[in-house]
Symmetry: C2
Subunit: 714 residues, 2 copies
């Protein structure tokens, strides 16, 4: 399935269609940038109006180029693009970067033009990059193809970071900030409007290549969301993280995203949950994106969350500890042996406790500093080491950096540095650390954040089987479309009773209940179920039973049931005069327990399971955990762990411990439903009462709605 992009990244020849001979014109820029950055393949300016441009022979059309051409940079105006693409196809070109604007981003006419261009390219076997984009870079072959102003000044070096960006200007802004930090790229591409080539295509290629170590993505609209499930699987298998800056988070931002790419915003909360589950790391800002790129350039991941912090400043140690705590890391006590070694060396105004403050005095003595650091690196109770320096200067900085590198070479634990001080004080320090594969950050909090991300990726890799299962599910249901045997047709809303009947048939524990069509039947039903009971109107004409006076709780005698039966049917008729009443549901009244909500909603990633605090609290507290389906029981248990309400289930203030195991089983069974019925449907179980341990759960109210199926997955 994966496309071969080798000719895109390493074209034998690059043609610039619409190249201009005018000095410093936009049309001349791509030729100048290819030249300036030392591209070794053939460079062919194409323009019937010039003989040569910047010393390169200029050809009237692509077909006239003497050698093979694999990549076309299309600078001609939007109206001339169709002819240009015909020429490219005839020359055997497979990749065309549409640098021109005037397509979907600029209104209706442009959108029409874009649609025609896509059809043409598909018919001719051309892969389009863009339109409305500014090109790509492959520093490994000095290919700088496009027209960002950055290309006139940047010093690209072959690196290991891949970047796929929908925004050109912002994307190359990110590149320029990265280069300033000494971070280098394996590939950069701006996908623009993503008319044909989409981010997912390139990300797949970067995950599979042999030069990229970490894949950065800047994204405004995630096309083909379900494909990202498989990319996540691949990322975990290859041990290459995907780190995404997905913008359009806020309502205001989402509105801007819509007007910018003419696309609907996804539900950001589902996206967050899906990414966490899949091990795709979401960065909040450019700063974090680059910090994480720096952390993942090196291959070591911590085996656990136990961090040893060594610092020359008590303050930096406290900050690192704060940061670790915020990012799910702990600072355990050091082993006795480690403490003994540290205490031998550290003066009285330092600290041999974690965070370890060796003091600036120790750092001045190479042997001592190395001994302390080596001892911590060897401590079996630590999974990673943070070293936090302040104001390293000059020669002493260089020595210290060498010491860190030497110790890091003797361990397989990740070693991360914070260096709170200007680079100008120790110009080599950052570069030497990066070259040695040691990530370096400005502040102790940033270093903790980066280490936290390394840990999360490691933990996600531990769940790669579950992610593979999600991927298989997405692939199968994407191909087969919704199955419906034994399931209501799309566009159906089931009543409480119908929903529960379906749930019960699949083993879910619903309340005992009997439909009665007379007061006498209701009393008989109540006696068979046992008092107290609840009566509920059963009619597909009423969605909100309580509002219509259609629910009465706590009925403990035949007389009460009889009275309630009349009251309910009268209220319902008053509420809705032409109502069709199927009867009244007589239901066991579930007493005690904790109210939870369990629900399924369809999303662009597939079905999403929600569990949370039930009843009215779900809307107020928004205490919910979400996962893409299907999940296994371990993941179901992890969902409950995430809830703030978890202590309610585990007994708080002398309350009984609830049957959490039964709730886990319920989540798993609901997940299994999506396996059997992979269509777009919505299930709302609220409340699900979790009874005391050993007594299970009861689905007290339930609603199932099947949706009309949206178009097939991309």
């Amino acid at each position: 399935m994966s496309q071969d992009f080798s000719r895109l990244w390493s074209p034998r020849g690059v043609a610039v269609l619409g190249a201009s001979g005018r000095e410093s014109s936009l049309g001349q820029a791509p030729v100048r940038y290819l030249d300036r950055n030392g591209y070794q393949g053939a460079i062919y300016p194409i323009n019937p109006g010039y003989e040569e441009i910047l010393g390169y022979p200029c050809y009237p059309s692509v077909s006239a180029c003497p050698g093979p051409v694999d990549l076309a940079l299309v600078m001609v105006s939007a109206e001339k693009v169709p002819q240009a693409l015909e020429d490219c196809a005839a020359k055997g070109i497979r990749f065309a970067v549409i640098l021109a604007s005037g397509f979907a981003e600029s209104g209706k006419e442009g959108a029409q033009r874009q649609a025609e261009m896509i059809a043409q390219a598909a018919a001719r076997g051309l892969t389009l990059i863009g339109p409305n984009c500014i090109g790509l870079v492959n520093p490994h072959v000095s290919l700088v193809a496009g027209f960002s102003p950055l290309f006139a000044k940047a010093e690209f070096q072959a690196g290991e970071i891949g970047l796929v960006t929908q925004s050109g200007a912002l994307g190359y802004g990110i590149v320029s900030l990265a280069l300033e930090r000494g971070l280098h790229f394996s590939r950069v591409i701006n996908t623009g409007n993503e008319a044909s080539l989409i981010s997912a295509d390139v990300v797949e290629d970067l995950l599979l290549d042999d030069v990229t170590r970490v894949v950065l993505v800047y994204n405004e609209e995630l096309r083909s969301p379900r494909r990202w499930i498989d990319l996540a699987r691949l990322s975990l298998e290859r041990g290459k993280p995907i780190i995404m800056l997905k913008v359009g988070r806020s309502e205001a931002g989402a509105r801007a995203a819509a007007s910018h790419t003419a696309a609907l915003a996804g539900d950001d909360r589902i996206l967050d949950a899906a990414f966490r589950q899949l091990g795709i790391i979401r960065a909040q800002d450019i700063d974090e994106l680059l910090d994480l790129a720096s952390a993942f350039r090196q291959p070591r991941l911590p085996r656990g969350n136990r961090v040893g912090v060594l610092t020359t400043s008590g303050g930096a140690g406290i900050m690192a500890a704060d940061g670790c705590s915020a990012w799910g890391l702990t600072l355990p006590e050091l082993t006795g042996e480690t403490r003994t070694v540290l205490e031998r060396h550290i003066p009285s105004f330092g600290s041999a406790f974690n965070p370890v403050d060796v003091t600036a005095q120790v750092i001045a003595d190479r042997e001592v500093f190395r001994s302390c650091l080596r001892q911590m690196a060897q401590d079996g109770g630590l999974d990673a080491i943070i070293v936090s320096f302040c104001v390293l200067t000059g020669e002493s900085a260089d020595r210290t950096v060498q010491d860190v590198l030497a110790v890091a070479a003797q361990t397989d634990k990740p070693v991360l540095i914070s260096k709170t001080g200007a680079d100008s004080l120790a110009p080599q320090a950052r570069r030497d650390l990066l070259t040695g594969g040691i990530p370096v950050f400005d502040t102790p909090v940033q270093v903790a954040r980066a280490l936290g991300a390394l840990l999360r990726f490691r933990q996600a890799a531990g769940r790669s089987g579950a992610v593979a299962a999600l991927s298989a599910y997405a692939r199968e249901t994407g191909q087969n479309g919704p199955a419906s045997e034994g399931f209501p047709q799309p566009g159906t809303t089931l009543s409480e009773r119908e929903t529960k009947t379906l749930l019960a048939a699949h083993g879910l524990p619903v309340t005992r209940e009997i439909l009665a069509t007379s007061a006498g039947e209701a009393v008989k039903a109540a006696e068979s179920i046992g008092y107290p009971v609840v009566l509920k109107i059963e009619s597909s004409d009423i969605l909100h039973k309580t509002e219509a006076g259609g629910v009465v709780l706590g009925l403990s005698s035949a007389a009460a049931v009889r009275a309630a039966y009349s009251r309910i049917t009268d209220s319902a008729r008053a509420y809705h005069p032409s109502i069709h009443i199927r009867g009244v549901l007589v239901q066991e009244q579930v007493q005690g327990g904790v109210e939870a909500l369990v629900g399924v909603v369809p999303s662009s990633f597939g079905p999403v399971l929600t569990v949370g605090c039930g009843g009215v609290m779900v809307e107020v507290m928004r205490d919910v955990a979400m996962r893409l389906l299907p999940i296994d029981q371990a993941e179901a248990a992890a969902m409950i762990d995430e809830l703030r309400m978890a202590p309610l289930l585990r007994g708080v203030r002398g309350r009984p411990v609830a049957d959490e195991e039964a709730l886990v089983k319920t989540l798993f069974m609901v997940s299994s439903l999506t396996d059997r019925f992979p269509g777009r449907w919505e299930l709302d179980l609220n409340p699900v009462v979790v009874l005391p341990r050993g007594q299970g759960v009861r689905v007290v109210d339930a609603l199932l709605i099947t949706h009309q199926t949206a178009g097939g997955a991309h």
Copy 2:
């Protein structure tokens, strides 16, 4: 009350006690740094062993210095400090920086030495800075007094940012990162162990001086917390923000803080709430600290939260919108006039909607760019302007910067820039913007965060009256100590009934209730109160009534009350055989309503009020708002606004709207109690039932504990 620090910041002469003649020794460093940075006052090395050091005559003792000396840098070892201080006092020196270690930070003996030194200094009228510190800087007179390695390389320029830091190494690391960003200081001081001079002393001086515009504080342990209330008042009155990086946030961090400064960690949650209320801005990391310093260097604050975003990249616009939304800012629609002007200039692939994407094409045309920006700056519907650039380069960057400065000069709205691109691409841009008073940031999210802080400070200034009231309260109660007339003695725990009697006497709406000492009395009481009632055991021997079987709810008849009376007293005796039972409380049963919690706890800032979701939910959901007391009704209402449970009070899913006004009044009345009884006490009202609108609230359970008073305020 404020101390005169003019001789500290601008000493006529500086003596370096223990200066060394040995090349590049630590003992020589302070002399070298004073010299290198061009200090214009007299420099006196003091050491009987040398004739001269680095060209300065060296004196055997301070008394031998020929001119006046205002500042002593004490480098001698800890044991020799007492004699050195005697000499300083004799010479009339008022300020001594104790650069030496070996005091409280290094164990018991050091703590003893520190205590003696403090007593000596106090007796001699000497203000000590440190010990365990590395000095101070006043760039306005080129005074660089101390021994950070930074002092050998830094280029200090007179600036407007003040920094007070407890940590020396980290503090000067922050300074070095600031200088690298082009931010300059008015004053820097490292307060170290704060044996005599504490951070609050210097912050007060910086708030009052004429050169500092923004006060940064790095703090591990906040000494004299109540004094910060008055500093906050001063900050708001002077329009100078205090921005604090307060570390030791996490449990692990707090442990590190304790071992580092031998101090107990404060309650971080109370600190957060207090700072928000007081308008002290808390930064999470060094990066944010410096971003906010940059934002507050210029004096403009937004009048409201309406932001216009102008960008050359759609992506940057979306990021800015995301950031604004996260930081409490909105992007309103632009006025028709503004849109008309924008639409005239912006090409079809841009956007004339907020965030406005003028495109890179527009920026190339000075006139057009200026027109667009000017029009937005003039839009009456906007309170601030964010301009987000990407990859500004060379000459075009310099032109654009001049255009921004020109438009900014014509408006009084804050204009903030993000510039996603390396500084090396446009070396002048950042400097020119900063010089022109325009804050500049790397990313659109950072610019939104900074603007959000400007807005919060403006909003805090609007509450300066309330902060002044807090300050007056802290001052009065700090001086008078706890009053106790009409209030239980310290160390008392009142029963529910006693607490409610006290509350009722101060007008708080408690449940109706009568103490009965026999079943017959209980029935009489129930009939006078009206059924249903609750019975509760009344005995100071039982704290947890429910556990002891001491509470029965929902009693609706004389027979039921009679039976419950026996049951309760029997259970209580079974639970606690030697119990003294005062009787049984017969209480109205409050029906319906929303359960809230209202509580007061003492803290290092004074009494703190808490309101939140009541009952068992308070522990599980931790949905609470906190304020220092006293507060006015507006602040009480603002507390309720903060709660996630607020919709429960305002009617959700057809629930009745609750009497929020009565809850506000209750909070205000509880606040008034702290006015009348300013001691250290703890009040727990849980639940307070908020009845439907018009029916008020009822305090259903209540507990008051008065604490032994801690030592006087610092």
